[in-house]
């Protein structure tokens, strides 16, 4: 465990599934991410923590390609993906669950899942993945033809996750899965997240404001503050770190 910026890869560049190296980006002329570096191995769950406005969502959006990088490199599965549009990055095995779920409220549950499976080649894969998603989230099967906009918050989160899984991703980017959900639902969602990680060996990079649940579910974590990584290490270690204790866990 160590404090401060600089090269955080610890020499593990070659093994990592995702490597973000010295990323600099922002919106318009406003700088948001200032030389951010992180890695996610295969398979592990990594949490990206930080206060509001620290740049967590921006990091995910840059990784998936919704915003361009000004400087730095993003390497996924050995390929540099900086120049690729989002639709191509998805085909490499990345999947993204946006902040606020991002489900298509005008489509049914099934249609949402079909969109998630857009990159699949044949129907057999689609049906197999559908089956897996229903095994993980039986409630989606019950609501198959319902309009996605009419689902509850928890169900929408499940749908967003299920949809992301339809494309056979190697890695999931989750943006605040706990947002707006009651504590019971948060626990349920996270148990599903851990479950799918263990069963399907999918790596996960999750952004969270709820530090407690994030550290419980993840193996490692990074802490982002004002666009820079200020802290990183094993989640179990970070939990007892004094800075985390006071700033995020309240004592």
């Amino acid at each position: 465990m160590s404090l401060g910026k600089g090269d955080l890869n610890g020499g593990k560049v070659n093994n990592a599934l995702l490597t973000v190296h010295q990323l600099v980006t922002g919106y318009g002329r406003a700088l948001v991410l200032n030389h951010v570096s992180l890695t996610v191995d295969f398979p592990e769950i990594v949490a990206l923590l930080g206060a509001n406005g620290a740049g967590k969502t921006t990091t995910l959006r840059a990784i998936i390609g919704l915003i361009p990088c000004w400087e730095g490199e993003i390497v996924f599965g050995g390929t540099c993906i900086n120049q690729l549009p989002p639709s191509d990055r998805v085909r490499l095995g990345l999947a993204y669950c946006p902040e606020g779920r991002g489900i298509f409220a005008n489509l049914s549950v099934l249609e949402n899942l079909r969109v998630g499976a857009y990159t699949l080649r044949n129907k057999r894969d689609f049906l197999k993945n559908l089956h897996d998603v229903f095994a993980l989230f039986p409630r989606l099967k019950e609501r198959l033809h319902q309009l996605a906009g009419s689902l509850s918050g928890g169900e929408q989160q499940m749908l967003a996750l299920g949809r992301a899984l339809m494309s056979n991703p190697k890695m999931l980017l989750l943006d605040e899965p706990s947002l707006g959900l009651a504590p019971i639902l948060v626990k349920e969602i996270y148990s599903k997240i851990v479950e799918l990680h263990e069963e399907q060996k999918i790596s996960i990079l999750l952004v969270e404001q709820n530090v407690d649940i994030a550290l419980t579910a993840s193996h490692r974590a990074y802490v982002l503050e004002k666009g820079q990584i200020v802290l990183y290490g094993l989640s179990s270690d970070l939990r007892s770190h004094p800075v985390i204790q006071t700033a995020y866990l309240g004592g």
Partner: protein, 323 residues
């Protein structure tokens, strides 16, 4: 910017007749209105698809429609080709026009993240360019659309005259609409288009490429404009460079009435609008007929002000409509 001819003007003297004759009169108007309503409906679907997916109003849609008609005239009349052949060439031309507009104008603007006004001005410019280009090359003289003589037959049902052309028109339109609705509702591409219309960014994250889906939208929209051209040719029989302006406008209105992004709604909006036009003409005193475009605009403005989402459910988030 000429007005298109309608059949109903000659019938308006029948206003004073009541009872059975009135019913016949109304039924006859309905039959007359079919062709016109289908044209507006098909154009409306084209607008709604392009606006839903690409997020822009294709001002030049009416001009695509016009170019397809002129191509049908050139191929069918000058080159003496068959109606089917001319129609197919016309639809393919319309499709290509849509693709060209997309690649040459809209995609570059979107890639440069231009403002709403900039894209609008480019669209407006494209419309003027195409209209005046054809006007320059061909002059506004009315030219005939190649209708096969077989189609000129008219059935008599009781006291009503039912032209075969209108039946064929309705048939073509219904088939095309069913196909389009099927594509949009059930196919992988159609679902992708609807998702994209709702949330561009998230759709891209699902693997839907922005340029590909926009291309598909223009292919669909363009083809529909081509079919609309065939229908117009069958209904009115004429072709001229300024023919695209008013139908294009009314087609957009149909899309608004039906709910932007709602394919079936767009078609029904077109039918309703067509009927509304024909009926106002039939019941308007002839002296007031120059006021017709006024009425249409007033209706459009009222709808945009008070029911901008249209009569049916729109497919895209309403906030987007407000700029």
């Amino acid at each position: 910017m000429g007005y298109h001819p309608t059949f109903a003007v000659t019938q308006s003297y029948k206003l004073h007749i009541l009872g059975d004759d009135m019913i016949n009169f109304i039924l006859q108007q309905i039959i007359n209105a079919i062709g016109y309503g289908c044209i507006l409906g098909l154009l409306g679907i084209g607008y709604t698809i392009i606006y839903g997916v690409a997020g822009l109003i294709n001002f030049a849609h009416g001009e695509i429609f016009m170019i397809a008609s002129i191509v049908a005239y050139l191929v069918g009349y000058l080159m003496q080709a068959s109606f089917i052949y001319a129609s197919i060439v016309a639809i393919i031309t319309a499709l290509c026009c849509g693709l060209l507009l997309n690649y040459l104008i809209y995609q570059p603007c979107i890639k440069r993240r231009s403002s709403v006004l900039t894209i609008f001005i480019a669209s407006f410019g494209a419309s003027v360019f195409l209209r005046f280009l054809l006007l320059m090359l061909l002059t506004d003289r009315r030219r005939p659309f190649p209708i096969p003589l077989v189609f000129e037959h008219v059935f008599s049902v009781g006291e009503l005259r039912v032209p075969l052309k209108d039946v064929i028109t309705l048939g073509i339109s219904i088939v095309v609409v069913i196909i389009t609705v099927y594509i949009v509702k059930y196919t992988r591409t159609g679902i992708a288009m609807r998702a994209f219309a709702f949330d561009k960014e998230t759709a891209q994250v699902m693997g839907i490429s922005l340029s590909r889906i926009t291309t598909i939208a223009f292919v669909l929209g363009g083809s529909l404009a081509g079919v609309a051209a065939i229908v117009y040719g069958l209904t009115f029989g004429v072709v001229y460079p300024t023919m695209g302006f008013l139908p294009g406008l009314y087609g957009f209105m149909a899309a608004v009435i039906g709910g932007i992004g709602n394919v079936l709604g767009g078609f029904i909006g077109g039918i309703l609008l067509g009927f509304a036009e024909i009926f106002t003409v039939a019941f308007f005193p002839p002296a007031l007929s120059p006021l017709r475009p006024l009425l249409v605009w007033v209706i459009l403005i009222l709808i945009m002000l008070f029911k901008p989402t249209g009569l049916f459910k729109p497919n895209i988030k309403f906030e987007e409509l407000r700029g």
